[in-house]
């Protein structure tokens, strides 16, 4: 590409590009890279792009091309309400995860290696059990005659059993539990990379511990905070099993709207349209966050 310019200004270098050994070598190199990457391309194409295309196509179909599914989403309040509930629950879960996860990650990052391992293990091990099992466990703990309610009544702290499940609160508690690792791990990764001597320097220059935390540690941990917030929020937007089990049919989230459209009404087009809107929301969130922090840091490749 740059060859033509160079050829005009430098008559001596006016070789036809096909005869340029460097260019030939570069082309061979590129062909080889393409060949090596092709299995990955095929997988992405087959498992991601094709179904996605099919989803988008579906969302415009009802006996031929139509915009009716999208029009319905805009017009009917049930859709608006569900999206609002989903965003509210996700927001609450995300903030709660930050409030719980920050001190936890801080403890792990400032502890000696062995203790840090124990703390992280406590966060990650539940992660290995199935989401279903954990939801049922929470059901047992939180139900009217469950452990928590018996304990509260036994201690005389409450007269009647509290409604802890089959509502938004139950959904939030169980979802928070499942998504907490996605907050703690990026936070921990960021905090661990904050050099200890910056904190020592802060203290030696006269900063009280709180001052050093506020002016040095917290600002340097912000990329991790943003990564954790994004991950938890985005994952929560699409959560399905937990709200289905814990919400008692009253707390409807977007994913449940999709499943109902398919299972109850066989409305593939409507379900697809809801999915596409949710996908767009997630895409916009990543786009907005990506302007603040490179996406690679959020997904953890860096």
């Amino acid at each position: 590409m740059a060859g033509s310019d160079a050829a005009m200004t430098m008559p001596g270098a006016a070789l036809p590009s096909g005869a340029d050994p460097a260019a030939r070598y570069r082309r061979r190199e590129q062909a080889l890279m393409l060949l090596l990457a092709s299995p990955a391309f095929l997988i992405i194409l087959g498992l991601l792009l094709v179904p996605l295309g099919w989803l988008v196509w579906q969302s415009f179909q009802a006996d031929g091309f139509t915009l009716q599914h999208y029009r319905r989403i805009l017009a009917e309040p049930v859709y608006w309400n569900t999206f609002a509930t989903t965003f509210r629950i996700s927001g609450i879960v995300t903030l709660a995860a930050l409030l719980l996860g920050y001190p936890l990650a801080y403890a792990a990052a400032s502890a000696p290696p062995r203790r840090a391992l124990v703390i992280l293990a406590l966060v990650i091990v539940p992660f290995w059990t199935s989401v279903l099992v954990r939801a049922y466990a929470w059901l047992i703990l939180l139900q009217r005659s469950g452990l928590i309610n018996s304990l509260l009544e036994g201690l005389g702290l409450s007269e009647q059993p509290l409604a802890l499940v089959h509502n938004e609160l139950g959904t939030i508690i169980a979802t928070l539990h499942i998504l907490l690792p996605f907050m703690v791990l990026p936070l921990y990764a960021t905090m661990q990379k904050i050099p200890g001597d910056l904190l020592q320097a802060g203290a030696s220059l006269g900063g009280r511990p709180l001052h050093v935390f506020w002016r040095v540690f917290l600002p340097l941990s912000l990329p991790g905070v943003l990564a954790g917030l994004t991950l938890v929020f985005v994952l929560c937007l699409g959560f399905y099993i937990t709200p289905e089990l814990m919400g008692g049919g009253r707390t409807i989230m977007v994913s449940m709207l999709v499943s109902r459209n398919v299972e109850l009404y066989s409305q593939w087009g409507a379900a697809s349209a809801v999915s596409v809107v949710l996908l767009l929301c997630v895409g916009l969130i990543f786009l907005a966050v990506g302007r603040l922090v490179p996406i690679e840091r959020i997904v953890g490749t860096q």
Partner: protein, 364 residues
């Protein structure tokens, strides 16, 4: 300045144990107000540990630290009022140069209106005037080092600690900064304790140098004293460019090296193994005419001559197999005195320069 701004520092039998390992063993050191003292020693000798005890990051296992009259052994770092320059600068990457330098002022709750003036003055002192708005990532290594220095002096601390602050710089910049640090110290009048493992740097900059080995202080002395009156074989070998040769006591002021007897102007210690310390610059090639009286003479064979730019190093093997080396300036006249490799060469060593040390100094 009639009275130095600096504060006196006293370390009394400071100790640091990690398990059964003694990183510091009964170290005592008194530093006068306004003095520039270097801690010099090989890697792992406990320099950073000692500095950490002064800074409050390392809790001593025993002993005391006093700043002036005040016992600070258990005072947390932020109440010690010292400026520290860390080895890797430890500048805050999310703050501009100006914010970094203002950090100690903010931490001390100084009125905001006073910051800009103080920051400007500190930056000008390190010749970085006008750099307030720069990001740390936009600075060169030498500039970062200066910012770290400005941040450490902006609140006019009475004690400044530095941990190998120049080790990351290239030779030329390092030598410039050494002179600048020295000038800055004179201007500020603060007490400075400076860690380095570069003996040249320590000798260039310090009023006194404290030599550490395996967690113990071996010798604390002015640079000239260290070089010409080393306390033991370790210091003698560590300072300068010395060859240590085992010798035997042959009298009050005489030692025997092989078959030769050398005179020295200093009393030879009695008892224990002795070493003759031959610094490369103290051996002079004996001219044919100068049968200088009273000089020790050593004759050997030239084994090798290495050209090193401003000087040449000549390796000499004596008749009994002892290897010595000397330095000749690389100008024409001096080079002419070096015989070809394999030829015999006679050198002189003045009795004043004939340094005999014990293997280990008597415990102080």
């Amino acid at each position: 300045m009639s009275e130095p701004h600096g504060i006196a520092v006293a370390i009394r039998r400071a100790e640091k144990r990690y398990g059964s390992f003694r990183a510091l063993d009964a170290v005592s050191l008194a530093v006068a107000p306004g003095e520039f003292v270097s801690l010099l020693g090989p890697s792992g000798s406990g320099k950073t540990t000692l500095l950490g005890i002064l800074g409050g990051f390392v809790q001593p296992s025993g002993g005391q630290v006093l700043f002036g009259e005040r016992d600070v052994t258990y005072t947390p770092p932020h109440l010690r009022d010292i400026g520290i320059v860390f080895q890797n600068y430890a500048l805050f990457p999310h703050m501009s140069v100006g914010e970094n330098v203002a950090f100690p002022l903010r931490a001390r709750r100084m009125a905001k209106g006073l910051w800009p003036g103080r920051v400007r003055a500190a930056l000008e002192m390190v010749e970085l005037g006008g750099f307030e708005e720069r990001r740390i990532s936009q600075l060169s290594g030498g500039q970062r080092q200066r910012v770290a220095l400005a941040r450490a002096i902006v609140f006019e601390p009475r004690l400044i600690l530095m941990d190998e602050p120049l080790s990351a710089l290239d030779k030329q910049l390092r030598e410039t900064m050494q002179i600048e640090l020295r000038a800055l110290h004179r201007k500020l009048g603060s007490t400075v304790i400076y860690v380095t493992h570069d003996q040249r740097e320590a000798l260039t900059m310090s009023d006194r140098v404290a030599i550490l080995k395996d967690g113990r202080l071996v010798q604390v002395d002015a640079p000239e004293r260290l070089h010409d009156h080393p306390a033991d074989a370790f210091v003698a070998g560590f300072i300068g460019e010395a060859t240590l040769v085992p010798v035997e006591r042959a009298g009050e002021r005489q030692v025997r090296l092989g078959t030769a007897v050398l005179a020295t102007s200093r009393a030879v210690p009695a008892g224990g193994p002795l070493f003759l310390t031959v610094q490369t610059e103290k051996l002079l090639i004996a001219g044919p005419s100068a049968a200088a009286e009273g000089q020790n003479r050593l004759t050997g064979r030239v084994a090798e001559v290495v050209y090193q730019g401003e000087s040449l190093r000549v390796f000499l093997i004596l008749a009994d197999g002892t290897a010595l080396s000397l330095r000749q300036p690389s100008h024409h006249a001096a080079r002419g005195l070096i015989p070809p490799v394999g030829e015999s060469l006679t050198v002189t060593l003045h009795p004043e320069d004939t340094i005999v040390v014990p293997e280990r100094a008597a415990a102080p």
